[in-house]
Symmetry: C2
Subunit: 565 residues, 2 copies
């Protein structure tokens, strides 16, 4: 059987009116605003309006440590939502909004795929309702007000060299990483070395995703620290009188977007913070509404369980007060084979052919990664469900190895063929998730607020990553001490490391042991409410390849989009 | 009587459902898509769907040479539309989308004012339906693809020093005017001197405003010239394979936005190209639809009749093939007094009190500007209607001076108090416009396509500005010759000079004589389809003031926007 392309499937889907989708969620029409035919904004008043309905089960989708191709978490999230509806449960999903930069770069879109995607692809992968653009605008207004403040006499006494607030754009543009601004004449500002990040890396994006109300958003924006005075006092967006205008720019963007999957499952698509320097999860407000809209809300966390899920548990749930009922761990045969260390997978290049040959031994050889990630979920008191994202090239013997490992670890497990068969193909997974949610669980964060920042980092490194310990660079240790004494010690930590290994080194596959985590730098996201630790090179502005996807994207004679994938 | 603030008027307006507004325009519901409660996108299919309806009268609103405060063209446009409906005609208006940068800078919003504004103010002044952001994204994708091309081996042989394509953001940020990009390591691009303009100054914005269809948009984007090879051959967006993706990013943005005025008059709000380096007019597609939606379409052209209206006649009408039936020339008492040369008006500062004293002599002393602008309209074969935008501080004797001058020049004239009284206050103006439209007119462009570029500039300078001639800097003359030989000689010209004088010198008030226009530089907007000439310093990226409007903009406890004006 040849599968039609994602774009063809998207295009041939007969979508339901969004008012029907909202009605299925129990959201009154007065609380939705259509944005075009295929997306609607849901007012945050829906949280109060739906408060009498029972809270649904809260299911987070995470993964083993992925290959550069990803394990297919988004397709599983979509497929599981459809699968739950297929077996007669009412389910909705919550995913992140794709970033436009990568859509025109190497990656293509990020709306799921096959018969497990959010539609239409053109809407979700392009502007959607403009939230990304609002983040860009709010972020850059603050940047302009900082430089304007310096230019107009600097009455707050900001040390220009301490300014950490850069600018952002939702485009893959390596030439903007390191720039000098303020050149020209005296009327053209103050020369300063700075740069642009991609919009998803903006602290404003993390703030939007972690806010629980408009008032909370306003306060978090005010708490953003942009730099310091010569005396070392933090300078905030509130000090610059920028937070109010930023909040006005973001007012509509705080309302989650409602879309639908190819099978009409309600899909909340909202926010897309980075998965390394930020927490990599979709918004809290979408989950708050989604949990009252369905019996099961399936929400996705970025990267592997050591990354997105750890932040889901310790940053997002801490901010929302919500507790998860189950965690789905997505694994693929090729992903586990890659963890054997015997293959090299490069994004944009064909898979090594030998990876596709039947080889249950290689799956077993990479299985420690799966075991560790199962333990990571369980460490937080949550029931793990291993979802094998099945490919046509898989072999039954390879699936059996994964099922046996999961069973040995006491985890639920199911093979899922949602990509080729939609919700029907995820029915077994849906049953496993229902069973996991019915188990008694007791959600437990990894560390208390009171633990010191360094202790929090040590705990994540040892208990989740499997490190022997942490080596803080002197500058990082000094910063952490300053944050403690500056009153930021109760914040959770967000460790920015590669997502391609449990360790900081992408070459270390499986579940590496006998290593220590080197923390090069510590930075503060005071508005978002976490301290982040940089381990290795973190790229916050992607570049384009020699043949970017943009070159193949166009309109056809009928004005339809072609070349999106 | 104390007027409520613009924001209070906007907030207290009971808006009609946009479906009612579309219905009033005869636009089928299937051709509109709501974007939130207060704006809808109208499909370009409406042009064909409405083609059986008679074409309405086409009225352009322009002005005398304005003071830095503006003459109130937008309020007249809104008020006239309302006034025509008040006297029983069916009218719609078309205006530009305000830029978000200035909204947070000194200017505040640009939705009209008083009882002649487009509502709600928060919608039109902020993101609206995201068109500005789409322009930003499309423009910057091309910029990224240029630098990526240079980084990946430069197979087209682009001379990096010839690249004129900068980047854009919709923010007032002087520090971005002159920057160096591509610093850092070898992986971070190629160091280059460049900068950012405000989004309204993007050629993409001009292209969007001048396109007549999606296919036309696609072709214009492909024709954008970003720089030259070492051999002097033009390098286009098509050469870089960027135009298709840019068109996809702009696909929805090409559809005009439908809103309404405080009195429920349909308002098409679409595109906002700069009024100096670009043509400063709202979109052609909005006019194409608007003209079939009403008996009168009132459309606004930026700055004075020597600027926006001249480009309306010679750039916009040339591209659309439409012919105007009347031109409204907005004048104020204070504006004409300022043209006496006896007052100095500075934006953001209080008016000189002596300007408000009764002084018909000063009005007469400045009247040559009005006479020249009446002649400028008539030079194009269009009936002029002088609209006196009345202020509470005006005196009858002063209004009489203007009326007498208009009558002596054979122009229609009316005093309009739309700001305080809405459509009722513009009834007299509406009657004058109806009369002007009924006169036989014969629209005549200023110059034929076949005239040389230098002749076109000479013609505008002599016949419209009243210059004795033009002095081309050697570099400009060389460029114009190159454009002629490169096949761009048939394009119209867009002269970028100050809008505060008929001449290139903002200090020369009234209708200056005995001067020559110095053309410093010539540049090509091949996609938009004009050559522009730079006379003096043209700022394409504004800065913020010491106390930007952003500092006063916030949300209140009810989550409503405060501080917008």
């Amino acid at each position: 059987m040849t599968m039609p392309s994602d774009l063809d499937i998207s295009r041939e889907t007969v979508t339901l009116p969004l008012s029907d989708i909202a009605e299925r969620c129990g959201i009154p029409a007065s609380l939705t605003e259509p944005y075009g035919r295929f997306a609607a904004k849901v007012s945050l008043d829906a949280v109060a309006a739906l408060s009498q309905r029972p809270r649904g089960k809260y299911v987070v989708v995470t993964a083993i440590t992925p290959t550069p191709l990803g394990e297919g978490k988004t397709t599983v999230t979509v497929g599981l939502g459809q699968g739950l509806n297929h077996i007669g449960k009412r389910a909705a999903i919550a995913i992140r909004q794709p970033s436009m930069g990568p859509t025109f770069g190497i990656k293509g879109g990020a709306a799921g795929g096959g018969y497990a995607q959010v539609v239409p692809m053109e809407t979700i992968n392009l502007h959607l309702t403009g939230d990304m653009h609002a983040v860009t605008a709010a972020h850059n207004l603050l940047a302009a007000m900082i430089d304007n403040h310096l230019h107009k006499g600097n009455s707050l006494g900001i040390d220009p060299h301490s300014v950490t607030w850069r600018r952002v754009l939702d485009v893959n543009d390596r030439d903007l990483r390191d720039i000098v601004t303020g050149l020209g004449s005296r009327a053209d500002g103050t020369p300063r070395q700075t740069g642009f990040d991609i919009t998803a890396a903006s602290e404003v994006m993390a703030i939007l995703a972690l806010s629980t109300s408009l008032a909370d958003l306003r306060n978090r924006l005010g708490r953003i620290v942009i730099g310091f005075t010569a005396d070392g006092a933090a300078v905030t967006a509130e000090d610059l009188k920028a937070a109010g205008a930023m909040c006005v720019i973001l007012r509509d963007a705080l309302n989650p977007n409602l879309m639908q999957t190819v099978e009409g499952t309600p899909a909340f698509v909202h926010c897309g913070p980075f998965g390394n320097i930020a927490h990599g999860n979709s918004s809290i407000v979408a989950d708050l509404i989604g949990l009252r809209s369905a019996d099961y809300l399936v929400t996705e966390a970025g990267f592997g369980a050591d990354m997105g899920a750890e932040r889901f548990f310790n940053i997002k749930c801490r901010a929302s007060g919500l507790t998860p009922d189950a965690a789905v761990l997505v694994a693929t045969v090729r992903g586990l084979k890659a963890h054997s260390g015997r293959y090299r997978i490069v994004a944009g290049r064909p898979l090594p052919p030998e990876l596709l040959a039947e080889n249950p031994g290689d799956v077993e050889a990479g299985a420690d990664n799966l075991r560790r990630q199962i333990a990571n979920v369980r460490r937080h008191g949550v029931s793990p469900v291993v979802a094998v994202n099945a490919f046509d090239t898989d072999h039954d013997s390879e699936h059996r190895v994964i099922a046996d490992i999961a069973a040995a670890e006491g985890a639920h497990v199911a093979i899922s063929s949602h990509f080729t068969r939609g919700g029907k193909g995820a029915a077994e997974l849906a049953e496993a998730v229902v069973a996991a949610c019915d188990e008694p669980g007791r959600f437990t964060p990894l560390y208390p607020d009171e633990a010191s920042l360094t202790d929090k980092v040590e705990t994540v490194a040892r208990e989740i990553y499997g490190a022997d310990g942490v080596d803080f660079a002197p500058a990082a240790a000094k910063r952490l001490a300053a944050y403690e004494s500056g009153g930021y010690g109760r914040l959770p930590v967000c460790i920015a490391k590669t997502h391609l290994s449990l360790s900081h080194d992408p070459a270390l596959k499986g579940a590496p042991t006998g290593w220590r985590l080197p923390v090069r730098e510590a930075r503060l996201s005071a508005g978002a409410g976490f301290v982040y630790l940089v381990c290795g090179d973190m790229r916050t502005m992607p570049g384009l390849s020699s043949a970017p996807a943009a070159e193949r994207i166009d309109i056809d004679e009928q004005g339809r989009v072609v070349g999106l994938s």
